[in-house]
């Protein structure tokens, strides 16, 4: 048998003891050994708060990034879809998307302007929709 295996087993026994023991028991054990565990309580508390804060912040960043990527993909697909469509169809699309409020005179818009408007689909609106979807999925 390898010596390493034996040493690993002993270490495993020690780790399992710490993992499964109650905090109160480990605290009492430290006192018995002449250590005052409360001496570092403030540092432990600060570390826990910092880790929670950073974990939440990084998860939010990741979520926002993922939503932006999805929104960008959808937007690119839409742009692809609009290329080559006749102007009458593009006007209908604008109306379907509810953008006629801002652009009442759709009939006066030329093809290039309609394409621009469609390209400017509001990312925030899209992200809100995606967030709603994600929420419903959960």
């Amino acid at each position: 048998m390898k010596k390493k295996e034996i040493l690993d087993n002993i270490e495993e026994g020690v780790i399992e003891f710490y993992l499964n023991s109650s905090v109160e028991d480990i605290f009492a054990m430290a006192i018995e050994e002449g250590v005052e565990p409360d001496g570092t309580a403030n540092k432990r508390d600060k570390l826990a708060k910092r880790l929670k804060f950073l974990a939440q912040a990084r998860l939010n960043t990741e979520k926002d990034r993922s939503l932006l990527e999805r929104a960008e993909r959808i937007r690119s697909n839409l742009i692809e879809k609009y290329i080559g469509k006749p102007i009458s169809e593009l006007k209908t699309l604008l109306q379907i998307k509810g953008l006629q409020v801002q652009h009442r005179n759709i009939d006066k818009l030329d093809e290039a302007s309609i394409r621009d408007i469609l390209k400017d689909i509001d990312h925030i609106q899209l992200i809100e929709k995606l967030e709603d979807e994600t929420y419903r999925e959960k």
Binding site: K2, I15, E16, F17, S21, D25, M29, K43, L54, A55
Partner: protein, 191 residues
């Protein structure tokens, strides 16, 4: 195919799910005992802080192998163990370079010496003799024998020995203090 390593996102999610106050306290106590056993001059809370913050970073630092350590808490203990072991190796190499003397005490270091073949029964006998010399009792000896045989969880040891688990916890507390000496003895032990 799914990676055996957790993503940073999974790590963040686990950090939000676990009772951080509890796990930080346990990791600190474990690190304190390991550091004391190796005579290192670092503070346990600083080691734990460095490790927990580093596993959270985006860069490829310490990875969580989910196949080897399915439980997140167990992975954290392994990260602390490995970090202290590496610090000890560096400390030892520095000392050797300065003094020209070889260190004989290598608790959890995976140097060549630790990779030696060893007879299980002889090693067990040596370790039990060490426990007895340090004033250990029969309960501690039984637990150490279980560890040698790969039975390491307190509940499993209790079931195997047919005693309440509280007995195991109490005896392991006493045995825990002797572990650095036992490891030292086994490291120096050769067939």
């Amino acid at each position: 195919m799914e990676s055996i390593y957790a993503t940073k996102q999974e790590i963040q999610e686990h950090l939000l799910q676990v009772d951080l106050h509890k796990i930080i306290f346990k990791l600190e106590r474990y690190a304190h005992n390991r550091i004391n056993g190796m005579n290192l001059s670092v503070k346990a809370i600083d080691v734990v802080s460095d490790i927990l913050l580093s596993i959270q970073e985006d860069y490829e630092g310490r990875l969580w192998n989910k196949t080897k350590y399915p439980k997140f808490e167990r992975f954290l203990f392994e990260a602390v163990r490995s970090h202290i072991s590496n610090s000890y190796d560096k400390h030892k190499n520095r000392q050797e370079a300065e003094t020209g003397h070889l260190y004989s005490y290598q608790p959890a270091s995976y140097q060549m010496e630790v990779l030696d073949e060893i007879d299980l029964q002889s090693a067990k006998k040596e370790a039990l003799a060490c426990v007895a010399e340090l004033g250990g009792d029969a309960e501690e000896e039984c637990i150490l024998e279980c560890w040698f045989d790969g039975i390491t969880k307190p509940q499993e040891i209790a079931e195997f020995l047919g005693v309440p688990v509280e007995v195991i916890y109490n005896a392991t507390k006493r045995l825990n203090r002797k572990v650095p000496q036992i490891q030292k003895r086994l490291n120096c032990y050769h067939l």
